[in-house]
């Protein structure tokens, strides 16, 4: 009855996603790099143009380091080292 539906759901490729190389966490690969809220240049890599924190599935961080990054970015925002939302246009 639902023969034409089931193969499509289970094995059929609905969306052929191009194979992506598994990104490796930058901070696990290189132990020298530390996460610090006082260093906005490293943190800037992990925020988008609008100032949002880039999610783990895109940045490729492991969960431990993503947590540290998130904390650091939020601290840096408090003391105006990083923007809260995008770049402000000064009049």
């Amino acid at each position: 009855m639902s023969d034409e539906k089931t193969p499509q759901r289970s094995s059929g490729p609905r969306k052929k996603r191009p194979f992506q190389r598994r990104k490796v966490c930058r901070f696990c690969a290189d132990k020298q790099v530390t996460i610090d809220y006082k260093d906005p240049r490293t943190l800037r890599y992990f925020i988008s143009e609008r100032g949002k924190i880039i999610p783990r599935r895109i940045s490729g961080n492991c969960s431990k380091h993503q947590r540290e990054i998130t904390e650091a970015i939020k601290r840096a925002r408090n003391i105006a080292l990083l923007p809260i939302a995008g770049a402000h246009v000064m009049p």
């Binding site: 530390t34 610090d36 809220y37 006082k38 260093d39 906005p40 240049r41 601290r75 925002r77 408090n78 003391i79 105006a80 080292l81 990083l82 923007p83 809260i84 402000h88 000064m90």
Partner: protein, 124 residues
Amino acid sequence: MRMYETIFIVKPDLSEEETKGLTAKVQEVITGMKGDFKRLEDWGARKLAYPIEKFNRGRYYFLRFDGDAPLIAELERRLRLDDKVLRYQSVKLEKEVVAPVAAPAKPVVEEHVEEAAEPAVESE
């Protein structure tokens, strides 16, 4: 004793003696409440990522000290009451930061040329 670091941003257009007075007062609070003053760094006037109280730039101070909870409460109270301070943030450190972070790596070059000559404010 816990390890703390505090960053506070003061208004960029203060006179020399006003900043001197502020930093002296901060050290006085720490030593007066049996804290262990480690160092105070002047990062100079830097551009803020967003305006605070209509200021586009602010003068950053980085303070590193050991102390107890009443000390940090008093210090934050003083900073909060002070009009010259735009923003402050205290962080408790889990462990000693070994490498000094190169945070003041991009100093503002356009103005305050005399800052480079006096980074050691704590030597008084």
